[in-house]
């Protein structure tokens, strides 16, 4: 220790190094191609599984490797360095699909649904959003009706990350009456009759991630796939949001950091009016502002993460951290493209993708407005 509390130590550095190498070897050389193709190879999950990257932060008993919250953050940051938010989101969809199973599932469910996903053999996704209910989670309509030892599910889920290829969907369904009390979580396997998937949806960013709509038509799901009790779903979803929002904050911070780094490089190299861009005070000051914002946002996120890591509830703080990080990444990716001029608008330049990939971050996992609703309810 250097006289002040550091978030990252030896273990974190080693994890960072492993993930960095994984990204260098297995992702970076191909990432542009995958982005254009709109998909990354499925065996990347298995490769990440073998390296232990998928299992970070999950219990050893289910094939994970325990580690504190900063191990997870270190790994997530390095994964973002592949330069494709889509690859990071696709590979990381288990991090929203699995936690509800950890929180609410019984031993049998954990043994069935977790180890194959951490090994990268199966893909896990989370299905909350519907065509007619996004922010208003309590209003979802997908119905699950109990018939003996099965639930018969009808409805549809929208914008599901890894939805095209997912083998199992941790899915919010309505088992009871109106409102949040009627919501439950079911794990629905994709080979269940009545389960079907749209084509990959075409998006502004996250091109390499297979986002899909999923349909259920009299889809018979074993009652043993119900997580926790009927009516516990909303609680499970809200619990999960804290962790998803942290991941999105980290993604936003890394997006901004990479945009800053690219801009610093570019400003030193590119010449205009006989001097490098960094020779213009406007550019220098812009870069100084960008660096300041990135630094402040990252530190704030780390601070909130540290508290979450000790088990404290940080509903308000994580909502603030996500909004702040997204505000920063909005501004920084915008400025980064500006500094790059016309080249910043070209796909060959990383900032072009960062700018597009960034846009989802203040929408997914709870929109900016919903974060503000949460914060204002707590502070007022």
């Amino acid at each position: 220790m250097e006289g002040f509390q550091e978030y990252f130590g030896e273990t974190h550095h080693m994890v960072r190094e492993t993930v960095r190498r994984f990204v260098e070897r297995e992702i970076r050389p191909f990432v542009d191609e995958w982005e254009e193709q709109g998909e990354f190879p499925r065996n990347l999950y298995a490769k990440a599984g073998v390296a232990g990257i998928l299992g970070i932060g999950y219990p050893e008993a289910y094939g994970g490797s325990d580690g504190d919250i900063f191990v997870k953050i270190a790994a997530a940051e390095e994964l973002m360095r592949c330069g494709s938010g889509g690859v990071a989101a696709g590979l990381g969809s288990l991090d929203i699909g699995i936690p509800p199973i950890i929180a609410l599932g019984d031993d049998d469910q954990k043994s069935r649904f977790i180890p194959p996903v951490l090994r990268g053999e199966k893909i896990s996704a989370l299905g909350i959003t519907e065509p007619d209910a996004g922010s208003d989670v309590a209003n979802i309509r997908t119905r699950a009706v109990r018939k003996n030892d099965h639930y018969v599910v009808n409805g549809s889920k929208m914008f599901i990350t890894s939805g095209v290829r997912a083998n199992q969907l941790t899915c919010a369904v309505r088992t009871g009456g109106e409102g949040y009390g009627g919501i439950s979580l079911l794990v629905i396997e994709s080979d269940t009759p009545g389960y079907s998937v749209s084509k990959t949806l075409k998006k502004m960013g996250w091109w390499a991630s297979d986002t899909a709509q999923i349909f259920f038509e009299d889809c018979r799901v074993p009652a043993t796939n119900l997580l926790g009790n009927e009516g516990q779903g909303f609680y499970g979803i809200m619990e999960n949001f804290q962790n998803e929002r942290l991941q999105l904050s980290v993604m936003a911070n890394m997006t901004a950091r990479m945009a800053l780094e690219e801009s610093l490089k570019y400003a030193r190299e590119r010449k205009a009016f006989n001097r490098p861009l960094s020779g213009f005070q406007v550019t220098r000051h812009k870069l100084a502002d960008m660096a300041t914002l990135v630094e402040a946002s990252q530190e704030f996120t780390y601070r909130v993460a540290a508290r979450i890591g000790t088990g404290k509830t940080q509903i308000k703080e994580i909502s603030m951290a996500k909004n702040f990080a997204c505000m920063v990444s909005d501004r920084v990716t915008y400025d980064a493209v500006q500094i790059h001029g016309g080249f910043g608008y070209m796909r060959e330049y990383l900032v072009e993708r960062l700018y597009r990939d960034n846009r989802i971050l203040s929408i997914g996992g709870g929109t900016q407005e919903i974060m503000k609703e949460i914060i204002s309810k707590i502070i007022l």
């Binding site: 030896e10 273990t11 550095h13 080693m14 492993t18 232990g52 299992g55 490797s65 580690g67």
Partner: protein, 264 residues
């Protein structure tokens, strides 16, 4: 089959190296330290041999405390034990002194093979392997890209590339091998491996622990002296070869290569 792997911690090859104000050392403030890439080949080869023949892999590092991170990385890859030789008196020592200290740490251990990298990517000297073999009085097989240990574990057959040919050498064990690029593709330290590495034994030894005299180490005892470090010459701007036709351009290029670059 017991194997020892020596490893050095070096600045990451992507680090921007800055020369210090003394003109004899580099600024170490913002450096990211990593395991010397050639040593990593050694770790990987040792692990593969262990997987095939059984036994134990011990990693030996030398340097300040931060070197434990590289040793732990080797442990996370699958090595069994680590030794860190760390002593303030080692500051400023040259490679010959380093080899002497490493030899002292190894000499009482049981080993069949020792791996070092063929050189450190920092100083590019390639001295430790040879000096260590000499100090331990065992054969040295340098710049090796293939290693096969005999079934009985008593000898080793190795390959060294030379000028497009391959030299095949056999040697009795114990022997020391310096690893060259191409030997293997090192594995990652897996995440579970990293967590397990925390519990593996890592002993720290001072010069006194090794029965060595501090006076033989440090800047004062250097046999190799650094006079001055200078940065490599800055890359010059490229040149566009003039000419209307490909023939003309080729002729111009040949002339430039002959007269200016003096490579023809």
């Amino acid at each position: 089959m017991n194997i020892i792997v020596c490893l050095k911690q070096v600045p990451d090859t992507e680090t921007q190296i800055k020369i210090g104000s003394d003109r004899q050392s580099i600024v170490t403030d913002d450096i990211k330290w990593v395991m010397n890439p050639y040593d990593e080949y050694g770790v990987e080869e040792a692990l593969r041999l262990k997987e095939k023949h059984g036994g134990e892999v011990t990693v030996v590092g030398l340097g300040p405390k931060r070197v434990t991170e590289s040793i732990r990385t080797a442990l996370a890859m699958g090595a069994d034990k680590g030794i860190l030789i760390s002593d303030g008196a080692l500051d400023g020592s040259d490679s010959l002194a380093h080899a002497k200290a490493i030899a002292a740490a190894i000499k009482d251990l049981q080993y069949d093979l020792i791996f070092t990298g063929q050189r450190g990517v920092d100083d590019d000297l390639g001295i430790v392997g040879a000096t260590l073999a000499e100090a331990l009085n065992i054969p040295q097989l340098s710049l090796i890209v293939k290693v096969e240990v005999a079934e009985d574990g008593k000898s080793v057959k190795v390959q060294r590339p030379i000028e497009g040919e391959t030299l095949v050498i056999t040697s009795t064990l114990p022997a020391l091998i310096t690893a060259q690029k191409g030997l293997n593709e090192p594995r990652y330290a897996s995440l579970p491996g990293i967590m397990k590495a925390k519990k593996k034994p890592l002993a720290e030894k001072s010069l006194a622990d090794l029965g060595l005299n501090s006076a033989d180490f440090g800047a004062g005892a250097r046999k190799m002296k650094i006079l001055e470090l200078t940065p490599p010459p800055a890359r010059e701007a490229g040149k566009i070869v003039p000419g209307e036709t490909p023939q003309e351009k080729a002729a111009q290029l040949a002339k430039l290569l002959h007269d200016e670059a003096k490579v023809l």
